[in-house]
Amino acid sequence: METLEPILAAHPFFTGMSPELLKLLVGCASNVKYDAGDFISREGQDASEFFIIRQGKVALELFSPTHGPITVETLEDGEVMGWSWLLPPYRSHFDARAVVLTRAIRFDGKCLRGKLEEDHHLGYEMLKRFVKIIVERLSATRLQLLDIYGTRV
């Protein structure tokens, strides 16, 4: 039976990670599929997982009583969704909704945290990858905040 290992190895998030470390992660991973419109996670709920998107598109949304759902970011193939599982209180900050049929690998956050605590080399490898993504998204968010297409900048 085909394992998830080759799929993980081919995903940009895991580029450069050794097969030994990937093997440790596979035990926490499972294949998932969401139809267009399905909620993958909801704001305020337990953030017990993160996803690497294999195919599709996910919208991160915030709901405003006056404006309805507002999409703040979309994520696509090759990207990673969710880092609230890393730090207490492990709660999602946004709604995540599949915009189109989306296939992903889901990682169980609790399982993963246990492995990262046990094996600090794996922990550091994972953290380096997450920090890179967080920095990229922080930078993009700062640009978004500037409202650069407005008339004031």
Partner: protein, 289 residues
């Protein structure tokens, strides 16, 4: 005496009477978005064609109000009518937004340097636009698509504030439907009925795989956006001389005499607006300029 600054963008042809506006008549007026409109202009005297190169601009004169530098957004191979897409940002462009079909307007130009459309032949072309920045790049798209076989891969990345701010929606759909061009659009924010990308335009570049030695990038948009986009292209190993940007300052005379648009040792109206990134990278970092 040698010129202090040698623009690397393609050579410019001098306008015969650069300070005398020619009277044009509004042939068509089209509202593009809530604050942006397109004027199609024809010479009132019916004389000649007003040839221009992609990236050049005209000084448009709303009589009794003032002049504004507006890039030409039509097809360079079809210069009649002259097409300008204008965003309302000040008193002159606001007054122009009230023009009606048949009204007259003064036109001086075309001025400035142009996008390296010919120099890019044989290369992949990456066009990156933000907001109204798509207007000065549309002539490039027309030219590249007219001679599509002369170019490698062609990408258009376009970002705006919201879906309602997208320019040229009909054309974007047509370009997106082509198999020989990749078009990616993103907006900074949207409601859930928008099924496209949400995020700043730099997020579209994440998956772009470049043949950096055989790619020419042309960027137009807010200056901050251009800096971030250029930084991402440099991370992808593009050299500065293959990245082109279009700069904007307060232009008045259009021929480098008045000094209003001085940018370091250059005048944007004369030496720009299109520059290679190596020409401006130091200047972009200086707050005093």
């Amino acid at each position: 005496m040698e010129p202090v600054f040698d623009s690397k963008a393609a050579p410019k042809e001098a306008v015969v009477r650069p300070m005398v506006p020619e009277i044009f008549r509004v042939e068509k007026y089209r509202k593009e978005t809530h604050d942006t409109y397109t004027l199609e202009l024809k010479s009132a005297s019916g004389t000649g064609e007003h040839r221009f190169k992609a990236g050049q601009f005209n000084m448009l004169y709303k009589f009794g109000v003032g002049e504004a530098a507006i890039s030409i957004s039509g097809d360079p191979s079809l210069p009649n009518p002259l097409i300008h897409t204008i965003r309302t940002v000040g008193s002159v462009t606001k007054a122009m937004s009230k023009l009606k079909v048949g009204d007259t307007i003064g036109v001086r130009g075309p001025f400035g340097s142009c996008w390296p459309v010919q120099e890019a032949v044989g290369n992949d072309v990456v066009i990156i636009a933000g907001g109204i920045g798509l207007a000065p790049l549309r002539p490039v798209i027309y030219q590249v698509l007219a001679e599509r076989r002369k170019y490698g891969k062609v990408f258009l990345f376009y970002g705006t504030r919201t879906p309602d701010d997208l320019l040229y929606r009909g054309e974007l759909e047509k370009w997106r439907a082509r198999f020989d061009m990749e078009v990616l659009v993103t907006v900074d924010r949207a409601s859930s009925d928008w099924h496209g990308n949400v995020g700043v335009v730099t997020t579209l570049l994440k998956k772009l795989v470049l043949d950096s030695d055989n790619t020419v990038a042309m960027i137009c948009g807010p200056e901050i956006m251009m800096r971030f986009v250029a930084m991402d292209l440099i991370k992808k190993e593009m050299t500065l001389d293959r990245i082109y940007v279009s700069m904007e300052r307060n232009m008045k005379c259009g021929i480098g005499l008045c000094g209003h648009c001085q940018y370091g040792p250059t005048f944007i109206c004369k030496d720009g607006p299109v520059y290679t990134y190596d020409q401006v990278i130091e200047l972009l970092a200086r707050r005093e300029i």
